[in-house]
């Protein structure tokens, strides 16, 4: 049901600081709005979202009702070695969303081609 998309640069060389864009599909119901039948929609927002890389938390955000629906987060990360980026988020209903992305980092001594 809940889906997410991650955007990273196509080519990441060791030592680079690269940008990650994470778009999570989530209604982020604030608990203040009513549906078409006039019934208050219960609050359901993402409580926390974390990004784990090499079993270390490298980014964490705790949104509240003030974060827009389908939240988009852009942040930076310094490239070290290849590994799996693991995103995990929990909402008020207890739903746990996950996204895994295999991050390929080119070692610095192998990057002979000019950077684009």
């Amino acid at each position: 049901m809940t889906a997410a998309r991650l955007q990273v640069p196509a080519r990441i060389v060791e030592g680079d600081v690269f940008k990650l864009r994470l778009l999570v599909q989530h209604p982020m119901d604030s608990g203040f709005l009513r549906n078409l039948e006039g019934v208050l929609v219960k609050r359901n927002v993402i409580r926390h979202l974390q990004c784990i890389f090499h079993s270390k938390e490298v980014f964490r955000v705790e949104p509240t009702t003030g974060t827009a629906a389908n939240p988009l987060f852009e942040f930076y990360l310094r490239a070290t070695t290849s590994g799996e980026l693991y995103f995990r988020w929990v909402d008020d209903k207890g739903y746990i969303g996950e996204l895994r992305h295999n991050l390929v980092v080119i070692p610095a001594n192998q990057s002979t081609a000019p950077k684009t």
Partner: protein
Amino acid sequence: MYLLSRRDWLRRFSLSTAGLWAGSTGLSKAQDMSVLGRVQDLSDARLRTFDEMVSAYVVRQQLKNEGMGLTMPLLADNGHLVPLSLKVDSPMTEESHVTHVYILSQLNPAPLIAMIVLGPWNGRAEISMRVRLSGTQMVVALARMSDGNFRYATSQVSVTEAACVDNG
């Protein structure tokens, strides 16, 4: 020929379905109608002062309005989705980096929009996200540095359509 406008049609439709719903759940009709007619009342919401917004996070530490930028549109037509990007001038090394970023609202029912945790592994203290605003207000971004001191940046945003009011 008498045609119902879309708004009238929606209103009638929602009233009738809500009536059915109230009947089936045993709620009195009058009670349900009052709920339907009520719009989220934000008239008593007032703009929080800067001290009120910040005092929950900054107690005795230094607070400076420098070395940080907060970019938001001057006029946001739709309060449901307002782009926000912030940047802290920090080398993001082990000795000097940003640990937490708090995005605070002056008017929203929830004063804290989001709390973000960063560290030296991020390499650059730059974040973009999209927020909800319940009216024309000032947004404050508060960054806690690794030495325990705080920096902040503000942005005044005019909002034409608030995010937590039902219009229909």
